[in-house]
């Protein structure tokens, strides 16, 4: 049976009613790719409420950190370690600090594009990281292969825009400066001339690139089991998102969704390219 995790809900109660398994939050300065961020104090309050309903809370520390940020990162981790939360991390600096401060709680590897095989997950499992959010550029068979070959607790993306790339450069700011115009929006789109596909680009701490289409795994649920499925509302309207989450939890299968690489393997030798 799959479990469902919701990012940054606008209204916790209605998702608790839908019987999701937990909530994912980002915190100010140390997380990325959330519609809004919480302070540590606010997370503490939410923890009390959510835990009373037997739901998990996962904090996503899903950035890479520069040297000058480490001092504050340590302070945040010390505070988080006193809460009953699962700590997700992208930067192995977080894992090192958590080990140093003796964190006893659960950890989650947020691998972004890099968690592509069970052996890598086992590397982290052997070092106390029991949960892994795997790469979003995998086929359905690859996801199941990974799951069947590791004891790591697997998280996959089930719904939301897919991150295609992250740059530390201020790519939008720089472009607008170059053309002498003011950057006035949070989200912009760009088009591929060949396929006419649209993609989204957002600048925060980093510049992130996303699919214009919303990935939706719902049709493939019968082929996926015992997974933790993340339903992500980043850049998506709250009501649309709620309805989609309802579909997942009530098994209302929608058709013709964007499914990313689930049925399409990438090639990696140009001579193989067709």
């Amino acid at each position: 049976m799959n479990k469902y995790y919701i990012t940054n809900p606008d209204n916790i109660d209605r998702y608790i009613d839908l019987n999701v398994s937990g909530f994912i939050y980002g915190i100010e300065k140390f997380s990325s790719e959330f519609n809004s961020y919480l302070s540590l104090d606010k997370i503490s309050l939410i923890c009390n409420k959510v835990k009373n309903n037997n739901k998990d809370i996962i904090i996503f520390l899903n950035r890479l950190y520069f040297e000058h940020e480490l001092k504050d990162l340590k302070k945040v981790l010390v505070k988080l370690s006193k809460l009953d939360v699962i700590i997700g991390f992208t930067d192995d600096a977080v894992l090192n600090i958590l080990n140093d401060i003796g964190f006893k709680g659960q950890k989650l590897l947020i691998s972004n594009h890099t968690g592509t095989n069970s052996y890598t997950l086992d590397f982290y499992l052997n070092r106390g990281v029991k949960n892994a959010y795997i790469c979003t550029e995998l086929t359905l068979n690859e996801i199941n292969d990974i799951k069947n070959n590791t004891k790591s607790n697997i998280f996959v993306k089930g719904y939301g825009h897919l991150n295609m790339a992250t740059s530390s450069r201020k790519l939008l700011t720089n472009y607008f400066k170059f053309i002498g115009k003011k950057k006035s929006k949070k989200v912009y789109t760009f088009k591929d001339f060949i396929t006419s596909k649209e993609f989204k680009i957002v600048e925060d701490f980093n510049t992130n690139f996303y699919t214009g289409d919303i990935f939706n795994i719902i049709e493939y649920l019968p082929k996926l089991d015992n997974l933790n499925i993340i339903l992500d509302n980043y850049l998506i309207d709250n009501e649309i998102f709620y309805n989609e989450v309802s579909n997942f939890l009530n098994n209302n299968v929608t058709k013709d969704n964007y499914i990313g690489f689930l049925d399409k393997e990438t090639v990696y030798r140009v001579t193989d390219y067709d």
Binding site: L64, Y65, E67, E69, L70, L73, D91, D92, A93, N96, N99, N112, H113, T114, T116, N117, S118, Y119, T120, D122, F123, R127, C135, E142, L162, M164, A165, T166, S167, R169, K170, L171, N174, Y175, K177, F178, I179, K181, K185, Y188, T189, F190, K191, D192, F193, T195, K197, E198, F199, I201, T207, T211, F261, K264, T266, V267, Y268, R269, V270, Y273
Partner: protein, 398 residues
């Protein structure tokens, strides 16, 4: 101050030899399997063996990239491959997929693990984690500033490798899958289509932002010549040059400059010479800047319009031999030159002479006005002895 290793790319066995002959302390190369840059020629196992033998005979090292992000099926054959690399005495592998560390231990394969820049390690806490897990060297992310590098070295004493010259990724290395999404070519398994060099129209909802200037996110190249001294003071162990697909002329030119600069700094004899900067810039076909090392990159570190990728025609020929009796260079031509042109001949160990072309003889001994047949064997006069595999370029300095 430690003397850092100068680490060069080797796209094939020929380039490996050129790199070592022109001053590299070590080379990195990719095998036919498990390596990014699947478009490069790359090395068969027997070529890796030959390359290691060539390097070790000259006291140099060879690192092999095993730097794809492995999907489940890619792991087939990996143990056998790693055992072969050990058997051939490869000095280290460069990888970002950490499971290989455990695999080496489990299979008792005695080969060092260098953490690839694909892991984008940019801080000392992550570095400490890797050091605790048997990583022998960390290739830092190119997003690190000089202060970051100093701090990481000070806080970890890690063996640190830093890129000093060449092309850069737009994004954090290993965290860009634009190629996958736009072309279905897997960037983290060696088929990156370099989407960052494409141009796009940018929209604010349905409104195009600019008709005149396309949106792009291509970074200019990196070039750290003026920061080499500071990086040596910071204790960087290895200076890496990017470009496994670059020409022998590019390799020889870049290595000649950095070899001399590193040696002179180490010997306390270095004085900045702007000609070095000119030489480095002219042999590349893209602009180069320090990028992250001294400030956070701005719009100046990117291309928007007019990428100015120029075809370089400075490379005139390769010395095949020197005819001492007639005081003539026997050369194989690469680009056009003519009588009266000023040329520069450079080679390993700081050989560098400039002459004017007084005459040109073809292979039949006939005098010709100009050289305009690439690969043609020619003779030109030179009073000073030059050596096989010295290179001839336009004398753009004098």
């Amino acid at each position: 101050m430690i003397k850092p290793e100068l680490l060069a790319p080797a796209g094939d066995l020929e380039r490996l030899k050129w790199a070592i002959d022109y001053g590299a302390d070590a080379v990195y190369l990719g095998g036919k399997e498990y390596s990014l840059r699947s478009n490069a020629k790359n090395f068969s196992l027997s070529e890796i063996k030959k390359g290691v033998e060539y390097a070790h005979k000259r006291g140099k090292k060879v690192y092999v990239t095993v730097n794809i992000l492995f999907h489940q099926k890619d792991i087939k054959g990996l143990i056998k491959y790693l055992k072969k690399l050990e058997e051939y005495k490869v000095d280290a592998i460069i990888s970002s997929d950490l499971f290989i560390i455990d695999l080496l231990k489990k299979e008792k394969i005695n080969i060092d693990y260098h953490l690839s820049t694909q892991k984008s390690c940019i801080n000392s806490e992550a570095s400490k984690f890797y050091l605790k897990n048997n990583v022998k060297r960390i290739v830092l992310g190119r997003e690190c500033s000089l202060d970051d590098i100093k701090s990481i070295k000070k806080n970890t004493n890690a063996d640190i490798e830093v890129f000093i010259h060449g092309a850069m990724c737009m994004g954090y290395s290993g965290r860009c899958a634009l190629s996958n999404y736009l072309t279905n070519r897997d960037s983290n398994r060696g088929a990156c289509a370099q989407i960052c060099r494409w141009v796009f129209d940018l929209y604010d909802e349905d409104n195009k932002i600019s008709d005149e200037t396309k949106f792009s996110f291509s970074p200019k190249d990196q070039q750290l010549l003026v920061h080499i001294k500071d990086l040596m003071k910071a204790g960087v162990n290895s200076f890496k040059i990017e470009g496994r697909m670059k020409s022998i002329y590019y390799l020889a030119t870049i290595l000649s400059v950095y070899r001399r600069v590193i040696d002179e700094i180490y010997d306390g004899k270095y004085k900045y010479n702007k000609n070095d900067d000119i030489i480095l810039r002219r042999c590349a076909n893209r602009e180069s800047l320090p990028q992250y090392i001294n400030k956070f990159p701005s719009m100046n570190e990117q291309y928007y319009i007019g990428r100015e990728e120029k075809t370089n025609q400075d490379f005139l020929g390769v010395v095949l031999s020197y005819d001492k009796k007639n005081k003539e260079i026997v050369l194989e031509e690469r680009n056009y030159f003519s009588i009266g042109d000023k040329i520069n001949i450079f080679g390993p160990n700081n050989r560098n002479i400039s002459i004017e072309v007084k005459y040109i003889k073809n292979k039949d001994g006939e005098l010709v006005e100009y050289a305009n047949h690439p690969r043609e064997i020619l003779r030109i006069p030179c009073d000073i002895e030059v050596y096989k595999n010295d290179l001839i370029r336009v004398d753009f300095i004098n």
